[in-house]
Amino acid sequence: MGTEFSYYLEMAVRSLRRNPVLTALMVVAIALGIGACMTTLTALHVLDGDPLPGRSGSIYMPRIEPRASDASNEVLRPDQLTWTDGMALLHAARATHQALMVGGEATIRPGDPGVDPFIMPARFTSADFFPMFGAPFQFGQGWSAADDEGRAHVAVISDALNARLFGGANSVGRSIQVNDTSLRIIGVLAPWRPVPHFYDLNTGAYASPEDIYLPLTTARATQLPRAGGIQCWSTGSTEEALMESAPCAWLQFWVQLDSADAVKAYLAYLNDYVHVQHASGRFELLKPAELTSVKGLLDEKQVVPGDVRLQFWLASAFFVVCLVNTVGLMLAKFLRRAGELGVRRALGASRRHIFAQLLVEAAIVGLAGGVVGLGLAWAGLGLVRLNPNRSAQLAHMDISMLLTTFVLSVVAASLAGLFPAWRACQVPPGLHLKSQ
């Protein structure tokens, strides 16, 4: 079998070199199709990813309807909580982990007076954020629930900020000046980027993760500026100082529930909470509570831009055209060799042999198309990254996409070769001996 295959290989290469133009046309057609397909498939694959692999299945967003019946806002399913409800659910601690959070902006003043202050995205959250989302630590650790209660002046920073301020050294124990407040660094994260930025889509579906994390209570006490979406109703105003009591939903809340029973129990608890609130005169709309999974939220909010899917379909259609083209060219190429194949049949080569040989030839075209196509996809992704959108910056090819490229290319070319090879096998032996 091995020698047979290498014989086919040799024959195939020889035959491909015999009509370089036709071969080049086939390779170009496959390469263009593969290149376009892989560029868009990679973009889709990156954007459609699981933000917390292995974990996202047990992470849920509790949703309750806190509004008064005069709410003029038409947002049908709130995905944020008021301070009152957020704190109540956080303190109830009915889930394995729970974290209440909001985005913010931190103006960081480097120690060096010659360096201008700069603004970094911040996340004001509670202690469970790190264990619940599995944020990896490079140095130190997160804070405790006691730090939340005590409004401790502590912070966890990203590795990027650590590199910018401390040259990447272990900065645990050092302090950082944020707005008017000095915070003690207790942890430095390793590079970490959940894609999409599921826990707060209002700050950007593909926003990079925040560079500084500190207790929500501390951020509120020191009046750090908030960022993100806010929905108010009734007399709600966006006045910062009144945010804790205002009828406004502005906090994200996530819980970890490890089993179906836990989900059921938590939902029951949430509905009890809703009824208690309704009885006390709040929650006038009285809608049942919901638990939305990470995947469910991403689907509901249509996080992956419709454009990306459209691009993928377009590229696939393009690939089909390229394949049709390849089938035509292969048919031309194989039939052109009818004479040669007739001679080989007359000399005793079986149809199976001829068929195998032609398929190997097709596969080689596919392989060559894959190599060129990979180059095109690589260049295509470079072009995609020129797009100023944050989502586009993420489009990089990984090993699995690289392998997919080759497998897809070889399989597609072989499939394209099936029919032409079969047709070529139908050449009766010896017929062409006569005419020549």
């Binding site: 170009v28 003029s72 006045e239 055209v321 083209n325 035509g328 048919l331 031309a332 100023p388």
Partner: protein, 406 residues
């Protein structure tokens, strides 16, 4: 067209390759028609007028590090200083810009007692914004200085604050809500009655979620404080944008070292950022169309060459029987025209099919019929261009080929 019958009978002998070519042309026709239509829609959307004096508007957005105790005085002082800068005609502190990403929205009602709002609109805040953005006032008047109130006073809930009860709306809102002049009419915003005192030419809202409400915008006599996304917008003398941006950001920092300049840019950059993904998508669609046409042309060249090489003897016979080179050339051109026509006919059906899928899944409008003849002409020309080289080679086959084998 004398050759049609023999062409058809020859094509029957190459049924499979001919079908493949027709299929390829059909798919290309269908995809290109839809893609060009999608590009057209993107370009139209990208050219949506903002309704402001785009060429002369710049913005500088500060962020305060510390708290500024007397914000009202600080904003007034800053605006005074900005208006003094050379090249600056008007300056305001605004909450948002047309085609920006941050937006302040709420529902408005025409009747206080109805629960559901009649329209969701955005509200622009900022003193003298009509001048600073270069918005054209069509009817009524601009706000007077005594009509303005500070946003933080309004939201403080204090009883002594006089909340504004006048509003300026766009022509779009006037047409949609009042079907006639809106001046003097009342609408309810956040439960408060607002009297319409002016109507402006349509101003686009930021963060357009629903394109049918792009111009659902109004202006309120509200003064912004710095923070919560507020941005200083200035209308400048022609050619002064760069100088003003530089001078303004330096001045803002000097007046208050607690201010960090988060962003400074021309309005054209606001617009470019907002439509960046549409531009990228349009570029990609054009790229795919070009690639498709190239691949199809290459396919025609490849198959054309194959047919010519297969039919050398036939061509020789025809030449020997008196066909001129012109006849042979025309034979292959007609053959391609027939194949292209079949492809185009099938392609039009497919184009409508794809369009229906796009309408269902991506809320795309119906493909205008005008795209089909355009696509047809494009593919006919492409086919003729691609087949020319093989056809010319065929025409050069000497009559003596007839005497050779094969």
């Amino acid at each position: 067209m004398l050759d049609i019958r023999p062409i058809l009978s020859t094509l029957k002998r190459h049924k499979v390759t001919a079908i493949l070519l027709v299929l390829e042309i059909a798919l290309t026709c269908a995809i290109v028609c839809n893609a060009v239509f999608l590009v057209r829609q993107r370009l139209d959307w990208m050219n949506t007028p903002s309704g402001i004096d785009e060429a002369h508007v710049v913005e500088v957005r500060p962020v305060n590090i510390g708290s500024t105790p007397a914000m009202h005085g600080r904003v007034d002082e800053t605006l005074q200083a900005l208006r003094q800068l050379p090249g600056v005609r008007y300056a305001s502190l605004a909450n948002e810009l047309p085609f920006g990403f941050e937006s302040w929205n709420d529902g408005i009602k025409l009747d206080k007692d109805v629960v559901a709002p009649v329209m969701h609109v955005t509200a622009f805040y900022g003193e003298g914004l009509i001048n600073s953005l270069g918005i054209q006032l069509l009817e009524g008047r601009d706000f007077t200085p005594d009509e303005y109130a500070w946003l933080d006073d309004i939201t403080s809930g204090r009883k002594d604050v006089v909340i504004p009860h006048v509003v300026i709306i766009t022509k779009f809102m006037e047409d949609r809500l009042f079907h006639g002049s809106a001046l003097g009419k009342t609408l309810y915003y956040g439960g408060e009655p607002m009297r319409v005192i002016g109507v402006v030419r349509d101003v686009a809202r930021p963060n357009v979620m629903d394109r049918s409400l792009t111009y659902g915008s109004m202006l309120l006599p509200v003064r912004m404080s710095e923070g919560i996304g507020a941005t200083y917008v200035m209308r400048v003398q022609p050619g002064q944008g760069d100088a003003v941006l530089k001078a303004a950001s330096t001045m803002l920092r000097e007046m208050d070292p607690n201010r960090v300049i988060q962003r400074k840019r021309h309005y054209s950059e606001v617009r470019a950022a907002y439509f960046a993904s549409d531009r990228a998508m349009a570029g990609l669609l054009v790229g795919v169309c070009v690639a498709l046409l190239i691949v199809t042309a290459l396919g025609i060249v490849g198959l054309g060459s194959f047919w010519v090489s297969q039919r050398r003897r036939q061509i020789g016979v025809r030449r020997a029987l008196g066909a001129t080179r012109q006849d042979v050339l025309r034979y292959f051109q007609t053959e391609n025209f027939l194949l292209a026509t079949m492809g185009i006919a099938l392609g039009m059906v497919l184009a409508y099919g794809i369009n229906i899928v796009l309408m269902l899944r991506y809320e795309s409008p119906r493909l205008p019929a005008a795209y089909l003849p355009l696509g047809a002409i494009a593919l006919w020309l492409l086919g003729q261009a691609a087949v020319y080289a093989p056809a010319r080679r065929a025409s050069r086959v000497p009559p003596v080929e007839a005497t050779r084998g094969n």
